[in-house]
Amino acid sequence: MASYDVNGTAVEHDEEGYITNLSDWSKDLAQVIADAENIQMTDEHWAVVNFLREYYDEYQIAPAVRVLIKAIKKSMGPDVGNNKYMYELFPYGPAKQACKIAGLPKPTGCV
């Protein structure tokens, strides 16, 4: 199975780049995944990633896109907390790409 290299340690991921063991996640790993996705992590990216992880801790699933956006709007203001800007931060979608960086499972289904 393919893996990310985090300071010399291999962290396994699936065919699509989602880590297979969720407890392997670390900030350094997030940085490595972001690099692989061609994303420069900024404070705004981290705000999204951190919220996703908090939400996952509580609910064992990623939040609905609008729940995420509402939370980011609250913490970072409406210029960041809107759908369009989320796609600028994560061009492949705040649900899938941000989840990947946050070490969450991929949302499945008709989404």
């Binding site: 699509e16 699933i61 649900a95």
Partner: protein, 511 residues
């Protein structure tokens, strides 16, 4: 081969026949299901050693059990009527995406082993041995069919081509070569109750959040009840309605309609999914297991009616198969159809005059409507033939001032697939999805040019997700795809809504 589908075809017309590109999509294959995705569905974890015997035995079983399948294999006379009817063929130019060629990948093997001529004179009748290359070819091209059945409409023998794809996938599952996307999802439904893996707690929190949002927007408290025993209506809707955009706006629309209609309703956390991917993989057993969850939820909650939300293939399974799979539903109120579509409900309420609308709330958009394949070709709504075409349009026209249909050869029973149906809505097939959408996107571009259409509405979770992903490649914003009940939600005036009286007075003055 561009992995990101950048080489999208430029079509002069939605149904323009492309130049042939032999082998253009050869080898494209979605991720194979891992053992943990296969086994919960009753399939071997990986390709079994004697896969050839197992595959042929399964084919024999299907042909014996399902008379129609055998007829479909025997009856084709290669007339060619279907050749240019598939959106994937139109979008890719790969001749193996001609429906007849796709069917022949399986038919040729059937001939070899199960017909007299094929056993003794294989080369005369296009019969061929089942080899590993053939199996790989099946895996590739039977995952380039969305089972939309547009080609079947044009087949003079009435061959239901989707049944061939479904059978091929069932055979591949039986030998341990299943598709990750569909099989992982079916596994989740069995454990959690929906495709997304959304548990009860998270679902409850999401619904509460939406209740708050509606109250903030309108000043009216509209409920989205979960697991409420004794409610009259069980709403079964795709779990994408709890998660994705624009689906969730459709869910808000259903809630507002129920609220204004004054009915009691509930969502079930046990059957929190309308989709039934058992259909996509041709598995009666898996389809039945998923359908039975709906029955159990309806019984446990003691509801009188079951209503389905906006989901294309779910409505096919519900309308055409639910009674066979999980019936009889004699415990429900016989006054209502079992099951009912949310659009039937909303249209009835509109006709009764229960709902008030301010259509100008949708004046910022100019609409067209995409008939979803499974609704269009495998179901009906209402009491009249063609209700599945008219009722969604009637509802849209009741809430929007600017509506325009696309080219008639691409709508109603001749509608084009969105390009992501039938278990293909997965990122590893993005190139196919983008190319397969090109006929529909070309039809949309035509109404944009002719009538300034800005948005397209749909009533299927797959269509909505697919279009929001592929529309940007065709020059549209991702939010140019909308839920029909999102339009209803925009326009509906809730009783006691903030500013509603002023708006009405203003409207009256303007009139």
């Amino acid at each position: 081969m561009a992995a990101d589908g950048d080489d999208l075809p430029k079509m002069a017309h939605p149904l323009e026949i492309p130049k042939l590109k032999c082998g253009a999509m050869e080898g494209l294959a979605p991720f194979i299901a891992a053992p943990e995705h296969q086994e919960p569905l009753g399939y071997p974890g990986e390709l079994v050693e004697n896969w050839k015997e197992v595959a042929l035995a399964k084919m024999k079983e299907l042909a014996e059990k399902n008379r129609a399948f055998q007829v479909y294999l025997d009856a084709c006379v290669k007339c060619g009527a279907c050749t240019d009817k598939c959106h994937y063929f139109l979008g890719t130019g790969d001749p193996k995406n001609m429906p007849v060629a796709r069917q022949d990948l399986l038919r040729s093997v059937y001939r070899r082993y199960f017909t007299f001529a094929g056993k003794y004179f294989p080369s005369l009748v296009g019969a061929r041995d089942l080899t590993e290359e053939v199996l790989d070819e099946w895996y590739s091209y039977y995952h380039q069919c969305s089972e939309c059945r547009r080609c079947s409409v044009f087949c003079p023998y009435g061959i239901d081509t989707a049944e061939i794809t479904m059978a091929a996938r069932e055979i591949m599952d039986a030998v341990g070569k299943g598709q990750k996307y569909s099989n992982e999802i079916i596994g989740k439904v069995k454990v959690v109750g929906n495709n997304l893996g959304l548990n009860e707690k998270a679902l409850g929190a999401t619904l509460e959040d939406l209740e708050e949002e509606i109250e903030e927007d309108t000043g009216v408290s509209v409920r989205l009840p979960l697991d409420e025993k004794g409610a009259d209506i069980l709403l079964v809707t795709p779990s994408a309605d709890f998660f994705a955009e624009p689906h969730i706006d459709g869910l808000i629309g259903y809630a507002k309609v129920f609220h204004e209609a004054g009915v009691s309703w509930t969502i079930s956390s046990y059957a929190s999914e309308a989709a039934n991917f058992g259909l996509f993989i041709g598995s009666y057993e898996n389809m039945r297991e998923i359908a039975l969850r709906i029955r159990k939820a309806a019984e446990d909650l003691g509801v009188k009616r079951i209503i389905f939300g906006e989901c294309g293939h779910a409505w096919r399974v519900a309308y055409s198969f639910l009674n066979t799979l999980a019936g009889p539903f004699d415990f429900l109120d016989p006054k209502y159809p079992v099951p009912q579509h949310i659009l039937e409900f909303t249209w009835n309420e509109i006709q009764k005059g229960t709902l008030k609308f301010d259509k100008s709330q949708n004046d910022h958009i100019r609409l067209t409507y995409h008939d979803s394949c499974n609704v269009a070709r495998a179901s009906r709504m209402g009491d009249e033939p063609g209700g599945q075409f008219e009722i969604p349009r009637n509802v849209i026209k009741a809430v929007c001032n600017h509506y325009f249909d696309m080219d008639r050869e691409t709508t109603h029973e001749s509608t084009l697939c969105c390009g992501g149906g039938g278990g293909l809505l997965t990122d590893d097939l993005m190139e196919l999805r983008k190319k397969g959408a090109s006929p529909r996107m070309t039809a949309l571009q035509q109404v944009t040019e002719d009538h300034g259409v800005t948005h397209m509405a749909a009533i299927c979770a797959i269509c909505k997700t697919q279009f929001s992903k592929v529309m940007p490649a065709y020059g549209y914003e991702m939010d140019s795809i909308v839920s029909v009940h999102q339009l209803v939600s925009n326009a509906i005036i809730l009783t006691g809504q903030d500013g509603a009286e002023e708006d009405e007075t203003e409207a009256a003055e303007e009139a």
